[in-house]
């Protein structure tokens, strides 16, 4: 019974998600037509003749009617084609997806920092109410949600990079896959994905063990040194937010009748707190965190700007300044679709944690 309704719930969510994705693509496509400025002006030389301008517009396909351009863009997207960068003339999708891993790495690191710190802190704070640790946690979460993360990043750089020289001030240094690459070298041969690329024999992963342990350790140290400050910068707001939510959720749950009943029948306090109360606290916490995912991605954009982190946000801002439309559109679509995707996953996870969600 439960599995059937959960399945239908997820299917409904997925269909809704598809509609939102279509909306995202359409809005992003229309953005070029509702904002002032002709893209050709940005590409053409300042003294370009009308003839040259027309020629550039025709080359980029900008002289066609809107609906033709729209359909063309949609069919391109389905094949993974986002057009060519106006500036560098390379494939927009390649550029966008090349920048994506750095952003995901940063967002995941920040989430790990936030979850690892905030849930214990929230629980401790709720169970030791009106004690110094509770006041400390409350103060931290108040200041944490009130601090602009770019400023926090600069302050961290000021203290830990400039004053003490413990961390580098900026750049990514090394990507996490490179740590693994020192141990096992993985190559992909002959990719044959549906809709993308040419027909072939199928994807083949070739593993080549290297086991450069010392090199891997060096890489890991470099990686950690570069990601620590950005991850704290991006993660602090969420640490503060989740601490707050966990604390108030736990307080509410601990006052419920079932907690009193469990205590009355002699269940160990740890079981009451962590198995029952905490589990019921987490479902609404996850909802809010899911809704705040946008803040995480938005925060990543500005954190990247502070630390010169070569992610999607840096690419987007560069493209906006240059009016490189295929890159702007591609980055926005990846961000929007990523949000919808992660949110759907969060919904599914929540349905698993709290089956009451499905009933709504």
């Amino acid at each position: 019974m439960r599995t059937v309704s959960t399945g239908r719930f997820l299917l409904k969510r997925a269909i809704q998600g598809l509609f939102v994705v279509w909306g995202v693509v359409t809005v992003v496509f229309l953005l070029r037509f509702i904002t002032p400025g002709d893209p050709v002006t940005f590409i053409a030389p300042l003294d370009a003749s009308q003839e040259l301008r027309r020629q550039i517009a025709a080359e980029l396909g900008l002289d066609r009617p809107i609906y033709v351009q729209y359909l063309d863009y949609l069919t391109g997207l389905v094949r993974g084609d986002m057009g060519y960068s106006y500036i560098s003339k390379t494939e927009a999708s390649t550029r966008v997806f090349a920048r994506l891993p750095a952003t995901i790495e940063l967002a995941v690191a920040a989430t790990i920092v936030a979850v690892a710190l905030s849930i214990p802190l929230g629980v401790i704070s709720a169970t030791r109410r009106h004690q110094p640790v509770d006041y400390g946690a409350t103060l931290f979460s108040l200041v944490g949600i009130s601090t602009p993360n770019f400023w926090l990043g600069i302050m961290l750089v000021l203290v830990f990079a400039v004053q003490f020289g413990l961390f580098p001030t900026s750049q990514r240094g090394i990507g996490s896959p490179q740590i693994v690459a020192e141990l096992v070298y993985v190559t992909v041969q002959d990719i044959n994905l549906p809709f993308v690329g040419r027909p072939g024999t199928g994807a083949q992963l070739v593993f080549e063990p290297r086991m450069n342990v010392s090199a891997a350790t060096d890489a890991a140290v470099t990686w950690l040194a570069h990601i620590t400050l950005p991850a704290i910068t991006l993660g602090t707001y969420f640490t503060a937010l989740i601490t707050r939510l966990t604390r108030s959720g736990m307080l509410e749950e601990l006052g419920e009748a079932y907690v009193r009943a469990s205590r009355a029948k002699g269940l160990p306090e740890s079981l009451v707190r962590y198995k029952h109360a905490l589990r019921n606290t987490l479902a609404p916490v996850i909802t809010v965190v899911g809704l705040q995912l946008g803040t995480l991605i938005g925060g990543a954009v500005i954190t990247e700007a502070v630390f010169a982190w070569p992610g999607l946000g840096t690419e987007l801002i560069r493209a906006i300044n240059l009016r490189d439309w295929p890159i702007i559109q591609g980055s926005l679509i990846v961000i929007g679709v990523g949000f919808v995707l992660v949110n759907t996953i969060v919904d599914a996870f929540q349905a698993y944690l709290d089956p009451r969600v499905v009933a709504d």
Binding site: G37, T127, L158, G298, G299
Partner: protein, 361 residues
């Protein structure tokens, strides 16, 4: 089903009167607010911080010791009171026919003239921080008003009519939500451009403070964009409130005696949804102030008198003059902490039962 001409979009005096009535708190609400305020020191701190920032913004020309735009290059990067800055002066000297380079360490001391120091162009940090409060507050309050007006209208319509209107409005809200507000704001401000509006400063017009800037620059695009990217939150709250009251008996009763939809929405649905909307609006002012500072930091702003702009400037001088980036950041944090504390106070007082129940072992 009613026609679209019944929608409460055109705002008449009568409508305004009803909205005002809906916004007037009941005696019980005022009692709750007072009681909560008496018990909470944090709420008092929040109100004090907000009053401080509002006064700073309102009387900026009177309070600021210097013109925030005046550059005095020979007084650049002066440290705040109680600190000093070490610099190395490099001079060349002719000694016995050969040139030697002499590195001389000198100390730059703070002056009472510039209690919070000066920036890289010798502009007074205290004055810039005071003027920055104006930008933050105006963008925060006007931006929130735009978001609330638009979002609450959409949300009430969606929740009250439900059905197809609801579906269309809420799906478009979902599309909006898929773009993080900062990303959308950066894209919109970056692509539309930063139009700004110069408003004459009343203090200077009257002649009270002749040395201060004659006009104050309102970042027009930023104000509208931060409002437009945040309406969804209001729409969601207003919609769920409208959904929960629309099936109440008194709404049915009002409908059965022939009350128009506009009457019901303004007279019954809005007043019953106003509490969560006010709490949300408070938190949104804080969120929009943070958003404005982020936009200014990234260079997408229409004004140079903004805390975020100063932080971006100070970032280049971190190793020599830490205060340029630090001071405006502290101003942002105190303002936003103040607003969040007041938000907590309103939530606790207007919505009893959310927090403060339960209790540990």
């Amino acid at each position: 089903m009613v026609g679209l001409d019944d929608l409460p979009v055109p705002v008449s005096n009568e409508t305004l009167g009803r909205v005002r009535e809906a916004l007037t708190p009941s005696p019980r609400t005022i009692r709750n607010l007072r009681k909560e305020l008496r018990q909470s020191g944090l709420a008092k701190l929040g109100i004090a911080l907000i009053v401080g920032v509002v006064l700073m913004a309102a009387f900026a020309p009177v309070l600021a010791p210097h013109n925030p735009k005046n550059q005095t290059l020979d007084e650049n990067q002066l440290p705040p009171l109680g600190f000093d800055r070490k610099t190395t002066n490099t001079t060349t000297e002719m000694v016995n026919g050969s040139i030697t380079i002499v590195n001389q360490t000198t100390w730059v001391n703070s002056t009472v003239e510039h209690p919070l120091g000066t920036d890289s162009l010798g502009r007074d940090m205290l004055s810039r921080t005071i003027y920055g409060a104006r930008t933050s507050l105006i963008v925060g309050i006007v931006g929130t008003s735009i978001a609330a007006l638009f979002g609450v209208t959409v949300g009430l319509l969606a929740g009250y009519y439900s059905g197809r209107i609801d579906d269309v409005l809420m799906r478009s809200a979902d599309v909006m939500l898929a773009f993080p507000s900062l990303v959308l704001a950066v894209a919109l401000v970056g692509l539309i451009g930063t139009a700004s509006l110069r408003v004459p400063d009343p203090f200077v017009v009257v002649g009270l403070t002749p040395n201060m800037p004659e006009t104050f620059t309102l970042p027009g695009t930023v104000i509208i964009v931060v409002g437009l990217v945040n309406w969804v939150w209001f729409a969601r709250v207003a919609r769920s409130e409208a959904l929960s009251v629309r099936s109440e008996e008194y709404i049915k009763a009002a409908r059965s005696v022939g009350a128009s939809d506009r009457h019901i929405v303004l007279r019954h649905v809005l007043p019953n949804s106003i509490t969560p909307i006010i709490v949300l609006a408070t938190i949104q002012v804080a969120a929009i102030i943070l958003l404005e500072s982020a936009l200014a930091f990234l260079g997408f702003s229409g004004t140079t008198l903004s805390w975020g702009f100063d932080i971006a400037q100070g970032r280049q001088y971190l190793s020599s003059s830490w205060w340029i980036a630090t001071v405006p950041g502290l101003a942002i944090v105190s303002t936003v902490v103040g607003i969040n504390l007041v938000g907590d106070w309103l939530r606790d007082a207007l919505d009893p039962g959310i927090e403060g129940e339960g209790g540990g072992p």
